[in-house]
Amino acid sequence: MSAVWRSPRARVIVGTGIAAVVLFVVAPGMLSSFRLNLLAKFLCLAMVAVGIGLAWGRGGMLTLGQGVFFGLGGYMMAMHLKLEDAGPGGVPDFMTLYGDGVVPGWWEPFRDPVFTLVAIVVLPTVLAALLGLAVFTRRVRGAYFAILSQALAAAFAILLIGQQKVTGGTNGLNGFRSFFGFDLADPVNKKMLYFIAAGTLLVMVLLVRLLMRSRWGELLVAVRDQENRVRFLGYNPAVVKAGAFAVAACFASIGGALFTPIVGIISPADVGVVPSIVFLVGVAIGGRATLLGPVLGAVAVSWAESSLSESFPSFWTYFQGALFIVVVAFLPNGIATLGQVRLRRRARAEAPPDEPTAEPPHDEVAVEPSTSGRTA
């Protein structure tokens, strides 16, 4: 077994196999349809987390506004589902309720399922790439980038609330009856949605693994740690960062698009400042620079949230805050790095005390070199 573990390729195959068995056999077999639907929702949130892991953990961009891209995907999907429910040429119910009953021109293309699916993947990606290029070329980074992205999320939520006639306002878009021709009330179709979410997430994780191990992935880490140095090697760091940001946006959008039919509603409460921060908390707790940390962190935090809120409705917020503090204080790189920290402790304990120090002294875990993701 240990020999198998040592080969990266075998590790991927074994890991993917285990994940596939858990996601496609164990979970559907053990969980009630209600719980399975909840898990499907968490997997959608985990998709956002995978993207944040790449952009923040590897690229150092503190993306505090992923709700924007999550929302774009979610709302585009919701628009299509509403139009589908309304039938050919029909008007979604809420439009006659709040407005004049005329479908706006920019809604019309979303009647086409293919256009909708393409737009969900392409639109947020292009938007993020352009925004990223504009922002990173001007060398906006660190806290300034975080504030900017957070402000975008706030503005997006306010815009959605304000345009009630075309976005459903605070209520968002809900009450979907079918999903590309499949009845959403049918438990079989709900299960199918879960499988789609699980498969998508698996593909995303494998894709990010490829990216992390590619030369571009190494370059991304280099940009995170020494942006100027990369510049003087002849690379444009803005392009590298915008690329990672675009991938994260694409994943968030797809997550949002699957979230909508699985949960049955998308509203400003799912895309604003607070959900954008919650996305980040799971990633931070899991381990932002690792491959699986963000996924497991996001799923675990969401799972804990829903089960703890069931028993202690007002307790969750405190627990989440405490967990965040503990992890950031004692494991700044997330729970996924627990093993590394222990290895290092042991190595230090075994090292002779008078070892010549050719390296700068390490200050506990705080400046630990292997995964300290700076928010550059």
Partner: protein, 285 residues
Amino acid sequence: MSEQTPPTPAALLGEGQLDPDALEAVLAAPVERFRHDYLEIRGLRVSFDGFVAVDGVDLTVTQGDLRFLIGPNGAGKTTIVDAITGLAAATGSVRFGGVDLLGKPSHRIARAGVGRTFQTASVFDELSVLQNLDIAAGASRRAHTLLRRRSGIPDDVEAAMETVGLAHLRDVTAGVLAHGQKQWLEIGMLLVQDAHLLLLDEPVAGMSQAEREETGLLLQRIGAQRTVVVVEHDMEFLRSFASSVTVLHQGRVLSEGTVAEVQADPRVVEVYLGTASTSTTTKEA
């Protein structure tokens, strides 16, 4: 899931040694490629919020020269390097190999063949020696190459790794290298980057005497082929290896020439070496 090797104890890093023979492979390129390289700076002026750091500097460095820039703190040595590489906004003209550099973004200047190092070694601490050099070699790679894993080690990277004596440490993360080894890694990165103009900011700071000697010989060999400018404080190092020297003082060129000429210049003796012995002859300058 991280594939980091546990940090290597410093004792295992061993004493690195430069390998001048491997350098020959790196420098094997025909000299014609470098024939028209020369750095020409005219009327360079850099000011920060009204403070003039560089005030009308003219500087010409030809291919095959190993030029040292010296001067007291605040003389504008590093600022000139910053201006050449696009880090500091400047007026005047900076041309290298027929290309106008001023006003270009840093990464384009780098692509025009200009490489630099920083006072504090700035390698990618979390990446291995091999990864550092591979990134330095790859600015012109296309997307499909970038998006794949590195298969094998490019020849230029291997040769550079041997040149700077880090071949046995290729998989060690750069963060655990000794200070001198980091400086060497930086020089290796300049080599694989195929810089025609190398701007080195205090490349031997913190090195042992033996390491300085080796580094100096290496720079001399590189300087014979390419254009090399070194900012340095160490006078001993300068005397041993400089082929020409420019002395800066308060943002202006004070003196220029061979080591002997510069040392004999009374103005230099006064402002830089601070000896009062020749103070009577300086005022008319």
